[in-house]
């Protein structure tokens, strides 16, 4: 039932799309996308004896069709991932299968899509339309396609997006053999829901956003099944994800002062225990041409607040952009939690290779912090999961 709904919606959208395409409505057809190979090597064997090394292969072609007047477009982007170690990291997902119709005063987007909300860099609190493909990367920025109908009104008073989200996608979790996994196993085959419609519930959301010269403002509300599950014990080492129904209101603000961007994201959520609030605030500043060179150095600092915890982590990051022919860049950062004493450090470097490809290197180091047992640590179970990762991406196309 769980996956059959998703399969059926996908099929329905595919059929509708084929009708559109065959009606030769589209004058422009483009094919692109990417193929990537990735290897992760960990410093030690996992806490549960998992292997030190694994590789994966991802294919995500993209097909784009557009009508002569550019008012109608159709996108199809599947994503296939195979992992050498963890079956739970194998994936077939439809990232996009959608039709966009642009009218004079509104725009309608129907199908499976991804949409991002938010302004901050290290934590994305407001972003809620799509489920996170958690096993893809540590930063949690990779998402699964969400079936939806989205009406977007663009007026003098701002942009109003209204969403009907058709059905629910479960979060991905690393399996038994997988790395970067929780200290317990998660039985994704028997997920439970608060809603009696289970994963077939239609959720609703809206977001109003407006630009006022130096200020960008957005207000949003989501009413539906939480993308973030709680866990129910099935046995000591096996848990079941439980997806409650929540109401979440979000605020995004970004203010530009000279070269400085001040950012704020805040949410208030009810439905999972007591109502709680959480926020991320910080700034981004770029020094252009440091030391009279071509290099730019960007600074990111973000503070976190969460009702549910005593202390929340502080993130500090730098982005060094070389502005060379290869678009070389190095992103590095530290996340520190004062309460638990935990620190994690990451470095990510990438550059273009020829016209077609990109090579990237990433490394994350987890520091366990103080030994006090009274505090629940965030990354306790990841202490043997320091890793280096290489990725080579080949971009398809002409």
């Amino acid at each position: 039932m769980v996956s059959s709904f998703y399969r059926d919606t996908t099929k329905a959208f595919l059929v509708i799309s084929l009708i559109f395409i065959s009606s030769s409505l589209f004058s422009k057809v483009e094919k692109y996308g990417e193929v990537s190979f990735e290897n992760r090597t960990f410093s030690e064997k996992g806490l549960f004896g998992q292997d030190k090394d694994h590789s994966s292969f991802t294919l995500s072609p993209e097909f784009y069709f557009e009508s002569e007047d550019q008012k109608t477009s159709f996108t199809f982007k599947p994503k296939i991932r195979r992992d050498s170690l963890d079956d739970e990291r194998n994936l077939f997902d439809i990232q996009d299968l959608s039709l966009i119709k642009v009218k004079n005063s509104y725009e309608i987007r129907i199908g499976i899509r991804r949409d991002f909300w938010g302004v901050t860099e290290t934590v994305h609190r407001v972003d809620i339309i799509n489920q996170t493909d958690q096993v893809e990367s540590f930063d949690g920025e990779d998402k699964l396609g969400q079936p939806m109908i989205n009406l977007s009104l663009e007026r003098d008073w701002g942009v109003l997006d209204i969403y009907a989200l058709l059905g629910f996608r479960e979060r991905t979790f690393a399996g038994e053999k997988g790395r970067l996994r929780a200290p317990f196993l998660i039985d994704t085959n028997s997920a439970m829901y608060e809603s009696s419609a289970e994963n077939l519930r239609t959720d609703f959301a809206f977001r109003w956003s407006q630009s006022y010269r130096d200020l960008e403002l957005a207000l949003s509300h989501f009413s539906g099944t939480s993308r973030e599950p709680e866990f129910i014990n099935k046995s000591i080492s096996l848990k079941i994800p439980y997806y409650g129904v929540i109401e979440q209101t979000g605020l995004e603000a970004l203010y530009i002062v000279g070269g400085l961007a001040l950012k704020l994201e805040a949410i208030s959520r009810s439905g999972q225990g007591d109502r709680f609030s959480a926020a991320t605030a910080g700034f981004e500043y770029t020094q252009v041409g440091i030391l009279s060179s071509r290099l730019d150095l960007g600074w990111i600092m973000e503070f976190n607040y969460d009702d549910r915890y005593q202390e929340s982590p502080l993130a500090l990051g730098t982005r060094l952009t070389f502005n060379d022919m290869y678009d070389s860049q190095i992103l590095s950062g530290v996340m520190r939690n004062e309460e638990t004493g935990e620190t994690n450090v990451f470095v990510e470097a990438s550059r273009r290779v020829r016209n077609c490809c990109r090579l990237s290197f990433e490394s994350i180091y987890f520091n366990g912090g103080n030994n006090s047992n009274s505090i629940q640590k965030m990354f306790e179970y990841l202490k043997q999961d320091d890793f280096v990762r290489f990725e080579f991406i080949y971009y398809l196309g002409n």
Binding site: D115, R294, M325, I393
Partner: protein
Amino acid sequence: MKNLNKIFFSALFFFFLNFIHSEEINRGLEIALKADDSFSGYGDSKTNLKMMLKDRKGLVTERVMEMKLLEVPEDGDKSLIVFDSPRDVRGVAVLSHAHKVGSDEQWLYLPALKRVKRVASKNRTGPFLGSEFSLEDLSFQEVEKYSYEYLRDENIDGKESHVIKRIPLDPYSGYTKQIVWISKSNSLIHQIHHFDRKSFHVKTQTFSGYKKYLNKFWRPGEIHMINHQTNKTTTLFFQDMAFNTGLSDKDFTQNSLKRSK
């Protein structure tokens, strides 16, 4: 008292200096306004841009993008640039709303994350896509964004030219001044010397292959930029330039930025 005298005399001195200067300032502005004639009243335009980057050793790489422009009466113009190549930046787009007064607004679209990101327009002075052009060089240069001064008349490359100095009023400009050569016969810019924050002559920009569109609007076919510090060059080719393409405000919004492919 002594101090007051000093202030008084220096004020007087600057007053006279300004007086002497005002003629050059007026003449500079006049020439700049005439050169701008070709750029007002154009409505909207679309063009494909090809960039050829050449490093010191002669290694060449290419960038391809599409640029849409919309003239906004009484304010700065709107522009949308969508990258096509290299492939890893395909679909990345930059939307700008320029303003005659105050700083410009700028948004970046990152297709991999489906994210629209507002960026501080101050960060427009660095190399654009690794080229010798900055976003500032590529953006629309409103007359109101500079102060002017007429310097001299000169014949360069066989062209009788006015030479004017312009100083960017934007405190975040990457330049302290620019010397501009404007052809006397048709009021077209054919050379600019850029002086960086330390007043070094860092880059020279030359314009060629001017073509007239709709019987009124002159546009260059090629813009060449040489960086004197690195000896790297970038040549920008304008291809398939079209005017009156029916673009409107709706094509320069955040929603249209998300759709740009």
